[in-house]
Amino acid sequence: MSNSTSGNSTNGESARSELTGLTIAEARDMLRAKEFTARELTEAHIAAIEAGNPALNAFILQTPEKALGMAAASDARLAKGKGLALDGIPLGIKDLFCTKDVRTTAGSKILDEFRPIYESTVTQNLWDAGAVMLGKLNMDEFAMGSSNETSAFNPVVNPWRAEGSNQPLVPGGSSGGSASSVAAHLAMGATASDTGGSIRQPAAFTGTVGIKPTYGRCSRWGMVAFASSLDQAGPITRSVRDAAIMLREMASHDPKDSTSSDAQVPDFEKALAKKVKGLRIGIPKEYRMDGMSAEIEALWQQGIAWFRAAGAEIKDISLPHTKYALPAYYIVAPAEASSNLARYDGVRYGLRVNGRDITGMYEETRSAGFGAEVKRRILIGTYVLSAGYYDAYYIKAQKVRTLIRRDFDDAFRDVDIVLTPATPSPAFALGEKSGDPLEMYLNDIFTVTVNMAGLPGMSVPAGLSKTGLPMGLQIIGRAFDEETVLRAGQVIEDAAGRSPAPRNWWSVSSSSSATTAAPKAAKKASAKSGSGTSAKK
């Protein structure tokens, strides 16, 4: 690495791909050691986006000039030895974080060319830590979807393909652009958001790490709202350590969000060093669902074996109201969405379509601006909140939610974390499930309970399916105990090895094989290669 980055490389492309293959932790340390500059690192990512984005459609807006300006500021600080926590690290931003003067769409036509006059707290925190913005990432419209197929800017494609197949697969959703860009090494990390699984499911589908922290850990100020009691920001990265590094910078107490917690934000990276010997791992019997693929079941058993080998204690637990989480979610989330999305009326920002009168203008604007899934959820939400149905649906769902939270409170008296699969299956094909809303909703069956209870949850790559597609395990923790969640995630990553990079088929200028990992990372990975399906040691 140090040879190829001092500017005397004979093969610029391979030097660039070595840079884009680094983890955030590696790049941070090498930037501080002046092995390369933030400008070189940023240019490598801009080139990777140019080459790969036409095929993947992960970015819907690229901001290379802004990125180079931010990188120059990072280089100035790094040169003085005053590098910040994320100085010079190029990131992608999910397009529901408002970015000052940079178009923000939430994947919808209704926001049109909206240019926020303010910066979201989460992104401001990242820029304050020296991070570099590469651009805005594609997503399901208003974060409503599990495949990134509801985006008004066309679907995102998963960089992973089944072995021997060219069929395009979905990257999951709603943070599909975040997951795809990080998996394909177009960005070192990305912001994402999770209302029912929108960080963890795409992370599982793309071999990346995604953590949804405790509700209240990250400020929601400046995030386009979907369901305010469920929405929470978090990072998608290529290692557990990187997730810890990014989350620490994203999290903060923010007086501008009344649900933002004033709990202290710990140094999550430090927590990774602690062992898990004696940690109590809960295995909930209700997550063993009918129709779950045998591969996912085997992966789960593998995870249990890894924790046992690491000295943790495995306990069977019960979360009796699990099966009711998804139907309750599909009352609460649409209800909150119908209220939050009432603001898109063609008056203050975004699209306007004229009608007969002012009501006609509202109706025409919202009809033209919203896609089918968003309309469906607004109508469900309007229905369950309407006179005569409010108690039967909304209040009932909020009561079930109390029971779901109580299940977890009871379980966490006996265990420290809960281990489950992240998704019922690996990534599916584009178009495979877009015809049936209910079938699509079932993607979130393992993740949605965590949002309903407001707890932290993380998806960690744990192995490949028979057809060579990534699969993830989920770790659920106590409220505000992301440290234990991350520590447990590190156990899975150590045992499974970091997810390999998918074979690079998407770069138009790149000749062939996998985006090369950095030597250090490659050595680490090869020491554990093939261990995705075998026990540690």
Binding site: K323, Y349, I358, E363, R366, V400, L438, G454
Partner: protein
Amino acid sequence: MQIDEATVRHVARLARIKVSEQETTSLKRELTSILQWVEQLGEVDTSAVEPMTRMGEMKLPLRKDAVTSGDMAEAITSNAPLTEDHYFLVPKVVE
């Protein structure tokens, strides 16, 4: 719960979304299947349960009733489809 086309049109009107005849037909089917699916919540005894209205022990913070920002009419109206002198313009509401 069986949703008919009149209900779809009524709810769409409440939500201020114009729906075509074709959309009404498919929404009738989709809304019915989603609402029938959530009816399984009826199996859960919630007679002695309070609805969740906040996360955990979180308390709503209070702050001084003070002006914290302002004087930005230009910025606030900068994204509007139609404005005049820092007012949002809409079709005539009162004849």
